[in-house]
């Protein structure tokens, strides 16, 4: 169990921001959960959206929302990615938590093409830890020591694996583990600051040091109920790493909004805004789950990056991801 360090609450009420989606991914009848944005450095407008589906596998979409590929890999819960080196060449490594068999699975994104990594699946529960069960949330992270796959479980355990590569094959080694009090899911890493954010769905958001050698003391960021998290669940988390401003974004499922917390070094992030995605040419966002954000330009349609949010209600009883222009949000931020 971790030590909880609770700081004083932020005082200012969050600004209410209403935007509309600029694009949406093709709807599925499955159980869409979590997106990750792969930014194409050669052609930002040709970037991709990876979307996990808890009943089907991994979908790959372009920025118009059209499906580009589908991997029928089973019950993938959360997905995330980081730059990686494979056989000496730069690629992107994407990982996902797989609920069928409590494994972590990995994909290589190379020149805009997605393929299975070798090996594809890795057991996420060490045999010496029988109390760990029901794989759930997942994020990737990086620091000077390497690339990490961080996974949590409904049992509250958080396991941090170092990801290494030899001759094109990836391997995981457990470098740290700890436990939170209740069921977690959403996680994200602030690589620049060496912070790992973990959300307990019914409790709130905690921050931990990312370094495997650091203590697992938990620093309270925002606990339910609060101005930005008046209702549970808190779901997906992501970092907006802009040149001028940096934010933690949290999926406030209970109020169907994205909460935006201003990041300022090691200070406690203050919730500045709540973003509602209202109906326009594209329908609005309800019961949002996973989300992702990037500050990198994604072509003319998204010059300051984009926010992606899962949307639970669409025609034909489908679920999809909505894509919002970050410039629309930035213009309304305090």
């Amino acid at each position: 169990m971790v030590l909880a360090l609770v700081a004083g609450a932020a005082s200012a009420e969050p600004v209410q921001i209403v935007v509309q989606a600029q694009a949406e991914t093709a709807g599925t009848r499955g159980d869409t959960d979590d997106p990750a944005i792969w930014v194409n450095p050669a052609d930002p407008a040709g970037s991709l959206i990876l979307g996990s589906d808890k009943s089907q596998g991994l979908f790959v979409y372009d920025l118009t929302g059209a499906e580009r590929a589908f991997f029928a890999d089973g019950q993938l819960n959360n997905v995330d990615l980081r730059p990686f080196t494979l056989n000496g060449a730069p690629v992107t490594l994407a990982g996902a938590s797989k609920r069928d068999d409590d494994t972590l699975v990995f994909y290589i994104i190379d020149a805009g093409r997605v393929r299975h990594a070798e090996p594809f699946a890795h057991s996420a529960i060490p045999p010496e830890m029988p109390g760990v069960n029901n794989i759930y949330g997942f994020t990737m992270a990086q620091d000077a020591a390497g690339t990490y796959a961080v996974v949590n479980f409904k049992s509250g355990h958080v396991l941090q694996y170092l990801v290494t590569e030899t001759a094109g094959r990836i391997a995981l080694s457990l470098v740290r583990h700890w436990q939170v009090a209740t069921q977690p899911e959403g996680m994200t890493a602030d690589d620049r600051m060496g912070h790992l954010y973990v959300a307990e769905e019914d409790a709130g958001i905690w921050r931990f040091a990312l370094s495997p050698g650091a203590p697992t003391d938990a620093f309270a960021i925002d606990m339910i109920p609060s101005d930005c998290l008046p209702e549970d669940d808190v779901e997906g988390l992501a970092i907006y790493d802009g040149a001028d401003a940096r934010y933690l974004i949290a999926s406030a499922q209970g109020i169907h909004r994205a909460a935006i917390y201003k990041l300022d070094a090691d200070a406690k992030p203050a919730c500045q805004a709540l973003v509602e995605v209202a109906a326009g040419a594209i329908d609005g966002v309800t019961e949002t789950d996973g989300l992702d954000v990037t500050a990198l330009p994604l072509g003319p349609a998204f010059p300051q990056g984009a926010l992606l949010m899962m949307d639970d209600q669409n025609a034909g009883y489908t679920i999809n991801f909505k894509v919002m222009n970050w410039a629309d949000i930035a213009a309304r931020l305090p």
Partner: protein, 220 residues
């Protein structure tokens, strides 16, 4: 994953409403939800039998409900009507039958709607049928008590409805619960049928259902 909450969460998405006002709305989207060709002139007074059906009549969260699908096979606009059992870990590796869901996806009044009922008890398997349960506010209650949550979701032009009403009072009469147990004693098929009268804030909704079970889930 969204979990049960004994609360009411109205959502009306418009570009003009600030969040505090939005959350304070006591009743919203004052539309009636009614199926076409209704023949019942009053809500049923008992379970309507083992033919798969879904009848929900009354008022809930300020909205009039008159859903009369007395025979699901003959009802129009039904996309999905399915039940699910949920089990929780019990003693000595056993499981407790702690929850069942009744989920309807259907176009009603020209709008694609999702309506979901979720009934909780400590272990339904310990209650011989027919069994009567008093509805109340605690989740997974022991004894002849049950917790009911009703979810309604749909979108129309510019409006998203996403209601969750839980902790209602009233009664559930569970009349039918069939299925084939696997080697763990869990059942992913069969039928669940019952009749409920649920009340909250001066509103009453009456429900009769018989739903085919399509799956089970082990939670916790």
């Amino acid at each position: 994953m969204r979990k049960l909450m004994p609360t009411l969460i109205p959502v009306l998405s418009t570009a003009l409403l600030a969040l505090p006002a939005l959350l304070a709305l006591p009743a919203h989207a004052q539309d009636a939800v009614a199926t076409d060709g209704n023949t019942l002139t009053a809500a049923p007074t008992e379970w309507l039998g083992d033919t798969p059906h879904f009848v929900m009549m009354g008022t809930l969260n300020g909205r009039t409900l008159d859903i009369q699908m007395t025979d699901i096979a003959a009802a129009e606009g039904v996309d999905e009507f399915a039940g699910k059992r949920e089990y929780l870990p019990g003693d000595a590796g056993a499981f407790r039958y702690a929850d069942f869901e009744v989920a309807l996806k259907a176009a009603i009044g020209g709008v694609e709607r999702s309506i979901e009922l979720e009934f909780e008890n400590d272990d339904y398997a310990t209650h011989p049928l027919p069994a009567s349960f008093a509805l109340q506010g605690d989740t997974f209650p022991k004894g002849a008590l049950a917790f009911l949550e009703i979810q309604q979701e749909w979108e129309t032009a510019g409006v998203s409805v996403n209601d969750e009403v839980g902790g209602m009072t009233g009664n559930l009469m569970l009349s039918l619960d069939t299925g084939t147990a696997d080697d763990k004693g869990l059942r992913a098929d069969g039928l669940i049928g019952g009749y409920a009268v649920a009340e909250q804030g001066g509103e009453t909704v009456i429900i009769s259902f018989t739903v085919p079970v399509a799956e089970y889930e082990i939670d916790g």
